[in-house]
Symmetry: C2
Subunit: 206 residues, 2 copies
Amino acid sequence: MRKVAESTVRRLSLYLRFLEEFEGQGVGTVSSGALASRGGTTSAQVRKDLSFFGSFGKRGLGYPVPELADRLREILGLKRRYRVGMIGAGKIGSALVQYRGFKQRGFDIVAIFDSDPAKIGRQWNGLTVLDIASLEKELAHRPLDMAVLVVPAEVAQAVTDRLVALRIKAILNFAPVQLSVPDDVVVKTVNLALELETLSYALASR
Amino acid sequence: MRKVAESTVRRLSLYLRFLEEFEGQGVGTVSSGALASRGGTTSAQVRKDLSFFGSFGKRGLGYPVPELADRLREILGLKRRYRVGMIGAGKIGSALVQYRGFKQRGFDIVAIFDSDPAKIGRQWNGLTVLDIASLEKELAHRPLDMAVLVVPAEVAQAVTDRLVALRIKAILNFAPVQLSVPDDVVVKTVNLALELETLSYALASR
Protein backbone atom coordinates (compact mmCIF):
# COMPACT_ATOMS: atom_id res chain seq x y z
CA MET A 1 0.00 0.00 0.00
CA ARG A 2 1.31 3.45 -0.85
CA LYS A 3 2.22 5.76 2.00
CA VAL A 4 -0.47 8.39 2.45
CA ALA A 5 -0.28 11.65 4.36
CA GLU A 6 -1.61 11.77 7.90
CA SER A 7 -4.07 14.47 6.83
CA THR A 8 -5.56 11.97 4.35
CA VAL A 9 -5.89 9.32 7.04
CA ARG A 10 -7.66 11.82 9.29
CA ARG A 11 -10.13 12.67 6.54
CA LEU A 12 -10.79 8.97 5.94
CA SER A 13 -11.63 8.64 9.65
CA LEU A 14 -14.08 11.52 9.33
CA TYR A 15 -15.68 10.09 6.18
CA LEU A 16 -16.15 6.80 8.02
CA ARG A 17 -17.97 8.59 10.84
CA PHE A 18 -20.35 10.25 8.38
CA LEU A 19 -20.89 6.99 6.50
CA GLU A 20 -21.79 5.28 9.75
CA GLU A 21 -24.34 7.99 10.47
CA PHE A 22 -25.76 7.51 6.98
CA GLU A 23 -25.83 3.75 7.57
CA GLY A 24 -27.78 4.32 10.76
CA GLN A 25 -30.29 6.37 8.80
CA GLY A 26 -30.62 3.65 6.16
CA VAL A 27 -29.09 5.75 3.38
CA GLY A 28 -27.92 3.46 0.54
CA THR A 29 -25.66 5.68 -1.52
CA VAL A 30 -23.91 8.97 -0.90
CA SER A 31 -22.28 11.47 -3.25
CA SER A 32 -18.74 12.77 -2.86
CA GLY A 33 -20.39 16.18 -2.43
CA ALA A 34 -22.36 15.03 0.61
CA LEU A 35 -19.25 13.53 2.20
CA ALA A 36 -17.32 16.69 1.37
CA SER A 37 -19.84 19.06 2.92
CA ARG A 38 -19.87 17.04 6.14
CA GLY A 39 -16.08 16.92 6.24
CA GLY A 40 -15.52 20.58 5.44
CA THR A 41 -13.70 19.72 2.22
CA THR A 42 -14.41 19.48 -1.55
CA SER A 43 -15.85 16.72 -3.75
CA ALA A 44 -12.57 16.63 -5.65
CA GLN A 45 -10.67 16.04 -2.40
CA VAL A 46 -13.04 13.22 -1.39
CA ARG A 47 -12.60 11.51 -4.76
CA LYS A 48 -8.83 11.97 -4.57
CA ASP A 49 -8.63 10.61 -1.02
CA LEU A 50 -10.67 7.52 -1.89
CA SER A 51 -8.87 6.92 -5.19
CA PHE A 52 -5.70 6.15 -3.21
CA PHE A 53 -7.30 2.89 -2.17
CA GLY A 54 -8.92 1.68 -5.40
CA SER A 55 -12.14 2.58 -7.16
CA PHE A 56 -15.37 2.99 -5.29
CA GLY A 57 -18.84 3.73 -6.57
CA LYS A 58 -20.09 4.46 -10.05
CA ARG A 59 -20.03 7.81 -11.76
CA GLY A 60 -23.36 9.53 -11.22
CA LEU A 61 -24.63 6.97 -8.74
CA GLY A 62 -22.54 7.92 -5.73
CA TYR A 63 -20.80 5.63 -3.30
CA PRO A 64 -22.55 2.58 -1.82
CA VAL A 65 -22.64 3.45 1.91
CA PRO A 66 -22.17 0.04 3.59
CA GLU A 67 -19.47 -1.11 1.16
CA LEU A 68 -17.49 2.11 1.40
CA ALA A 69 -17.79 2.14 5.22
CA ASP A 70 -16.56 -1.42 5.34
CA ARG A 71 -13.64 -0.67 3.03
CA LEU A 72 -12.64 2.35 5.15
CA ARG A 73 -12.75 0.24 8.31
CA GLU A 74 -10.44 -2.20 6.57
CA ILE A 75 -8.06 0.55 5.41
CA LEU A 76 -7.98 2.13 8.87
CA GLY A 77 -7.34 -1.19 10.57
CA LEU A 78 -10.68 -1.07 12.38
CA LYS A 79 -11.94 -4.54 11.53
CA ARG A 80 -10.37 -5.89 14.68
CA ARG A 81 -10.07 -4.85 18.32
CA TYR A 82 -6.90 -3.54 19.94
CA ARG A 83 -5.52 -4.21 23.42
CA VAL A 84 -4.44 -0.84 24.78
CA GLY A 85 -2.47 -0.18 27.96
CA MET A 86 -2.77 3.10 29.85
CA ILE A 87 0.62 4.06 31.23
CA GLY A 88 -0.01 6.63 33.95
CA ALA A 89 -3.08 6.90 36.19
CA GLY A 90 -3.24 10.68 36.58
CA LYS A 91 -6.08 13.03 35.71
CA ILE A 92 -5.75 12.73 31.95
CA GLY A 93 -5.34 8.95 32.21
CA SER A 94 -8.47 8.75 34.35
CA ALA A 95 -10.49 10.72 31.82
CA LEU A 96 -9.18 8.61 28.93
CA VAL A 97 -9.96 5.31 30.64
CA GLN A 98 -13.58 6.37 30.90
CA TYR A 99 -13.71 7.85 27.40
CA ARG A 100 -16.34 5.86 25.51
CA GLY A 101 -15.04 6.89 22.10
CA PHE A 102 -12.12 4.48 22.44
CA LYS A 103 -14.17 1.35 23.06
CA GLN A 104 -16.67 2.31 20.36
CA ARG A 105 -13.83 2.28 17.81
CA GLY A 106 -12.37 -1.02 18.97
CA PHE A 107 -9.73 0.24 21.38
CA ASP A 108 -10.07 -1.69 24.64
CA ILE A 109 -8.11 -0.43 27.61
CA VAL A 110 -7.05 -3.67 29.26
CA ALA A 111 -4.39 -2.54 31.74
CA ILE A 112 -3.42 0.57 33.70
CA PHE A 113 -0.01 1.19 35.26
CA ASP A 114 1.32 3.82 37.64
CA SER A 115 4.29 4.27 39.97
CA ASP A 116 2.36 6.02 42.77
CA PRO A 117 1.75 3.69 45.75
CA ALA A 118 -1.43 5.67 46.50
CA LYS A 119 -2.83 4.68 43.10
CA ILE A 120 -1.54 1.12 42.74
CA GLY A 121 -4.26 -1.40 43.64
CA ARG A 122 -7.14 1.01 43.08
CA GLN A 123 -10.06 -0.02 40.90
CA TRP A 124 -10.55 2.02 37.74
CA ASN A 125 -13.43 1.17 35.44
CA GLY A 126 -13.17 -2.48 36.46
CA LEU A 127 -9.38 -2.58 36.17
CA THR A 128 -6.85 -2.64 38.99
CA VAL A 129 -4.08 -0.05 38.69
CA LEU A 130 -0.84 -2.06 38.45
CA ASP A 131 2.67 -1.16 39.57
CA ILE A 132 4.72 0.13 36.64
CA ALA A 133 7.66 -1.78 38.16
CA SER A 134 5.86 -4.98 37.15
CA LEU A 135 5.21 -3.85 33.55
CA GLU A 136 7.38 -6.57 31.99
CA LYS A 137 6.02 -9.30 34.24
CA GLU A 138 2.38 -8.31 33.71
CA LEU A 139 2.67 -8.02 29.94
CA ALA A 140 4.80 -11.14 29.37
CA HIS A 141 1.71 -13.29 28.91
CA ARG A 142 -0.76 -10.71 27.69
CA PRO A 143 0.91 -8.41 25.17
CA LEU A 144 -0.50 -5.02 24.23
CA ASP A 145 -1.13 -3.69 20.74
CA MET A 146 -0.83 -0.07 21.78
CA ALA A 147 0.09 2.07 24.77
CA VAL A 148 -1.28 5.45 25.80
CA LEU A 149 1.50 7.33 27.57
CA VAL A 150 0.35 9.82 30.20
CA VAL A 151 3.43 10.13 32.40
CA PRO A 152 5.56 13.12 33.41
CA ALA A 153 7.89 14.40 30.68
CA GLU A 154 11.05 13.48 32.59
CA VAL A 155 10.28 9.74 32.64
CA ALA A 156 8.55 9.46 29.26
CA GLN A 157 11.57 8.29 27.26
CA ALA A 158 12.61 5.68 29.85
CA VAL A 159 9.07 4.25 29.93
CA THR A 160 8.96 4.32 26.12
CA ASP A 161 12.18 2.29 25.95
CA ARG A 162 10.54 -0.35 28.13
CA LEU A 163 7.41 -0.38 25.95
CA VAL A 164 9.55 -0.78 22.84
CA ALA A 165 11.43 -3.67 24.47
CA LEU A 166 8.01 -5.26 25.06
CA ARG A 167 7.43 -5.06 21.28
CA ILE A 168 4.63 -2.53 21.49
CA LYS A 169 4.51 -0.96 18.03
CA ALA A 170 2.14 1.99 18.54
CA ILE A 171 2.20 4.69 21.23
CA LEU A 172 -0.20 7.60 21.77
CA ASN A 173 1.94 10.06 23.71
CA PHE A 174 0.53 12.84 25.89
CA ALA A 175 3.88 13.75 27.49
CA PRO A 176 5.21 17.06 26.13
CA VAL A 177 8.40 15.53 24.73
CA GLN A 178 9.64 14.19 21.42
CA LEU A 179 10.15 10.44 21.91
CA SER A 180 12.91 8.44 20.20
CA VAL A 181 11.74 5.07 18.93
CA PRO A 182 12.94 2.55 16.32
CA ASP A 183 11.58 2.86 12.78
CA ASP A 184 9.04 0.09 13.23
CA VAL A 185 7.31 1.84 16.15
CA VAL A 186 4.77 4.55 15.42
CA VAL A 187 4.29 7.40 17.90
CA LYS A 188 1.56 9.99 17.78
CA THR A 189 2.05 12.88 20.20
CA VAL A 190 -0.92 14.89 21.47
CA ASN A 191 0.06 18.15 23.11
CA LEU A 192 -2.99 19.94 24.45
CA ALA A 193 -1.23 23.23 25.23
CA LEU A 194 0.08 23.21 21.68
CA GLU A 195 -3.49 22.92 20.39
CA LEU A 196 -4.33 26.13 22.25
CA GLU A 197 -1.23 27.73 20.74
CA THR A 198 -2.56 27.12 17.23
CA LEU A 199 -5.57 29.17 18.38
CA SER A 200 -3.52 31.96 19.96
CA TYR A 201 -1.44 32.08 16.78
CA ALA A 202 -4.61 32.44 14.72
CA LEU A 203 -5.87 35.25 16.96
CA ALA A 204 -2.49 37.02 16.99
CA SER A 205 -1.93 36.83 13.23
CA ARG A 206 -5.14 38.65 12.30
CA MET B 1 1.42 38.52 7.88
CA ARG B 2 1.32 35.70 5.36
CA LYS B 3 -0.84 32.70 6.08
CA VAL B 4 1.29 29.78 7.19
CA ALA B 5 0.37 26.12 7.38
CA GLU B 6 -0.74 24.68 10.70
CA SER B 7 2.14 22.20 10.55
CA THR B 8 4.54 25.17 10.51
CA VAL B 9 2.81 26.74 13.52
CA ARG B 10 3.11 23.44 15.39
CA ARG B 11 6.83 23.27 14.67
CA LEU B 12 7.27 26.86 15.86
CA SER B 13 5.61 25.84 19.14
CA LEU B 14 8.05 22.97 19.48
CA TYR B 15 11.06 25.17 18.67
CA LEU B 16 9.90 27.58 21.37
CA ARG B 17 9.80 24.75 23.92
CA PHE B 18 13.36 23.74 23.07
CA LEU B 19 14.56 27.35 23.13
CA GLU B 20 13.05 27.79 26.59
CA GLU B 21 14.92 24.70 27.78
CA PHE B 22 18.13 26.13 26.31
CA GLU B 23 17.35 29.47 28.01
CA GLY B 24 16.97 27.65 31.31
CA GLN B 25 20.41 26.09 30.79
CA GLY B 26 21.96 29.47 30.00
CA VAL B 27 22.71 28.58 26.37
CA GLY B 28 23.28 31.80 24.37
CA THR B 29 23.04 30.65 20.75
CA VAL B 30 21.69 27.57 19.03
CA SER B 31 22.18 26.19 15.53
CA SER B 32 19.33 25.26 13.20
CA GLY B 33 20.75 21.73 13.40
CA ALA B 34 20.28 21.58 17.17
CA LEU B 35 16.70 22.84 16.89
CA ALA B 36 16.08 20.36 14.07
CA SER B 37 17.38 17.34 15.95
CA ARG B 38 15.18 18.16 18.93
CA GLY B 39 12.17 18.69 16.71
CA GLY B 40 12.65 15.58 14.60
CA THR B 41 13.10 17.68 11.46
CA THR B 42 15.94 19.05 9.29
CA SER B 43 18.08 22.19 9.50
CA ALA B 44 16.69 23.29 6.15
CA GLN B 45 13.14 22.98 7.50
CA VAL B 46 14.02 25.03 10.60
CA ARG B 47 15.56 27.79 8.47
CA LYS B 48 12.56 27.74 6.13
CA ASP B 49 10.06 27.85 9.00
CA LEU B 50 11.81 30.79 10.65
CA SER B 51 12.33 32.66 7.38
CA PHE B 52 8.58 33.10 7.09
CA PHE B 53 8.79 35.63 9.88
CA GLY B 54 11.88 37.61 8.95
CA SER B 55 15.57 37.00 9.37
CA PHE B 56 17.00 35.64 12.58
CA GLY B 57 20.57 34.97 13.56
CA LYS B 58 23.78 35.27 11.59
CA ARG B 59 25.21 32.71 9.24
CA GLY B 60 27.65 30.50 11.09
CA LEU B 61 26.80 31.95 14.50
CA GLY B 62 23.45 30.30 15.07
CA TYR B 63 20.32 31.86 16.49
CA PRO B 64 20.42 34.01 19.64
CA VAL B 65 18.31 31.98 22.09
CA PRO B 66 16.50 34.67 24.12
CA GLU B 67 15.74 36.86 21.09
CA LEU B 68 14.44 33.99 18.99
CA ALA B 69 12.33 32.68 21.89
CA ASP B 70 10.87 36.12 22.39
CA ARG B 71 10.11 36.52 18.70
CA LEU B 72 8.40 33.11 18.61
CA ARG B 73 6.30 34.03 21.65
CA GLU B 74 5.26 37.15 19.77
CA ILE B 75 4.43 35.24 16.56
CA LEU B 76 2.45 32.61 18.48
CA GLY B 77 0.49 35.24 20.40
CA LEU B 78 2.01 34.14 23.71
CA LYS B 79 3.11 37.54 25.01
CA ARG B 80 -0.23 37.95 26.74
CA ARG B 81 -2.55 35.81 28.83
CA TYR B 82 -5.87 34.41 27.60
CA ARG B 83 -9.15 34.05 29.47
CA VAL B 84 -10.43 30.58 28.67
CA GLY B 85 -13.84 29.12 29.51
CA MET B 86 -14.37 25.40 29.98
CA ILE B 87 -17.75 24.43 28.55
CA GLY B 88 -18.61 21.06 30.05
CA ALA B 89 -17.57 19.71 33.44
CA GLY B 90 -17.24 16.01 32.58
CA LYS B 91 -14.20 13.77 32.95
CA ILE B 92 -12.18 15.33 30.16
CA GLY B 93 -13.12 18.84 31.33
CA SER B 94 -12.01 17.94 34.85
CA ALA B 95 -8.65 16.71 33.61
CA LEU B 96 -8.15 19.78 31.45
CA VAL B 97 -9.00 22.24 34.23
CA GLN B 98 -6.20 20.72 36.29
CA TYR B 99 -3.78 20.49 33.39
CA ARG B 100 -0.80 22.67 34.32
CA GLY B 101 0.40 22.98 30.73
CA PHE B 102 -2.37 25.46 29.96
CA LYS B 103 -1.52 27.97 32.69
CA GLN B 104 2.20 27.66 31.98
CA ARG B 105 1.55 28.83 28.43
CA GLY B 106 -0.70 31.75 29.44
CA PHE B 107 -4.09 30.08 29.12
CA ASP B 108 -6.07 30.75 32.30
CA ILE B 109 -9.26 28.82 32.81
CA VAL B 110 -11.49 31.45 34.40
CA ALA B 111 -14.96 29.88 34.19
CA ILE B 112 -16.54 26.42 33.95
CA PHE B 113 -20.09 25.72 32.77
CA ASP B 114 -22.26 22.62 32.78
CA SER B 115 -25.95 21.76 32.48
CA ASP B 116 -25.96 18.97 35.08
CA PRO B 117 -27.60 20.10 38.37
CA ALA B 118 -25.35 17.63 40.21
CA LYS B 119 -22.29 19.52 38.96
CA ILE B 120 -23.50 23.13 39.08
CA GLY B 121 -22.25 24.85 42.22
CA ARG B 122 -19.36 22.46 42.81
CA GLN B 123 -15.87 23.80 43.37
CA TRP B 124 -13.31 22.88 40.75
CA ASN B 125 -9.74 24.09 41.17
CA GLY B 126 -11.00 27.20 42.95
CA LEU B 127 -13.79 27.85 40.44
CA THR B 128 -17.51 27.29 40.92
CA VAL B 129 -19.18 25.27 38.14
CA LEU B 130 -21.79 27.61 36.64
CA ASP B 131 -25.10 26.80 34.98
CA ILE B 132 -24.76 26.80 31.19
CA ALA B 133 -28.20 28.43 31.09
CA SER B 134 -26.55 31.55 32.54
CA LEU B 135 -23.70 31.60 29.99
CA GLU B 136 -24.76 34.92 28.43
CA LYS B 137 -25.41 36.58 31.78
CA GLU B 138 -22.13 35.40 33.30
CA LEU B 139 -20.02 36.41 30.34
CA ALA B 140 -21.69 39.75 29.64
CA HIS B 141 -19.28 41.57 31.92
CA ARG B 142 -16.29 39.26 31.73
CA PRO B 143 -15.75 38.15 28.15
CA LEU B 144 -13.68 35.12 27.22
CA ASP B 145 -10.87 34.97 24.68
CA MET B 146 -11.31 31.26 24.04
CA ALA B 147 -13.60 28.38 24.91
CA VAL B 148 -12.76 24.72 25.37
CA LEU B 149 -15.79 22.70 24.31
CA VAL B 150 -16.21 19.36 26.09
CA VAL B 151 -19.92 18.69 25.66
CA PRO B 152 -21.85 15.78 24.07
CA ALA B 153 -21.83 15.77 20.26
CA GLU B 154 -25.57 16.38 19.99
CA VAL B 155 -25.45 19.77 21.74
CA ALA B 156 -22.06 20.94 20.48
CA GLN B 157 -23.33 23.04 17.56
CA ALA B 158 -26.04 24.75 19.64
CA VAL B 159 -23.52 25.67 22.34
CA THR B 160 -21.07 26.84 19.66
CA ASP B 161 -23.71 29.17 18.22
CA ARG B 162 -24.10 30.74 21.67
CA LEU B 163 -20.32 31.12 22.05
CA VAL B 164 -20.13 32.76 18.62
CA ALA B 165 -22.95 35.14 19.60
CA LEU B 166 -20.84 36.05 22.66
CA ARG B 167 -18.04 37.04 20.24
CA ILE B 168 -15.68 34.27 21.29
CA LYS B 169 -13.28 33.94 18.37
CA ALA B 170 -11.39 30.75 19.22
CA ILE B 171 -12.75 27.34 20.23
CA LEU B 172 -10.86 24.16 21.11
CA ASN B 173 -13.43 21.46 20.38
CA PHE B 174 -13.33 17.98 21.90
CA ALA B 175 -16.81 16.98 20.68
CA PRO B 176 -16.61 14.49 17.79
CA VAL B 177 -18.42 16.76 15.33
CA GLN B 178 -17.51 19.24 12.64
CA LEU B 179 -18.66 22.66 13.91
CA SER B 180 -20.02 25.39 11.65
CA VAL B 181 -18.72 28.84 12.55
CA PRO B 182 -18.35 32.19 10.78
CA ASP B 183 -15.08 32.91 8.98
CA ASP B 184 -13.74 35.07 11.79
CA VAL B 185 -13.96 32.27 14.36
CA VAL B 186 -11.20 29.67 14.53
CA VAL B 187 -12.02 26.14 15.66
CA LYS B 188 -9.48 23.44 16.40
CA THR B 189 -11.01 19.99 16.87
CA VAL B 190 -9.24 17.35 18.95
CA ASN B 191 -10.62 13.87 18.45
CA LEU B 192 -8.86 11.40 20.69
CA ALA B 193 -10.34 8.26 19.09
CA LEU B 194 -9.17 9.59 15.74
CA GLU B 195 -5.63 9.87 17.11
CA LEU B 196 -5.75 6.16 17.90
CA GLU B 197 -7.05 5.53 14.38
CA THR B 198 -3.94 7.10 12.88
CA LEU B 199 -2.05 4.43 14.87
CA SER B 200 -4.31 1.55 13.82
CA TYR B 201 -3.96 2.73 10.22
CA ALA B 202 -0.17 2.68 10.59
CA LEU B 203 -0.26 -0.83 12.04
CA ALA B 204 -2.71 -2.09 9.39
CA SER B 205 -0.85 -0.63 6.42
CA ARG B 206 2.43 -2.40 7.14
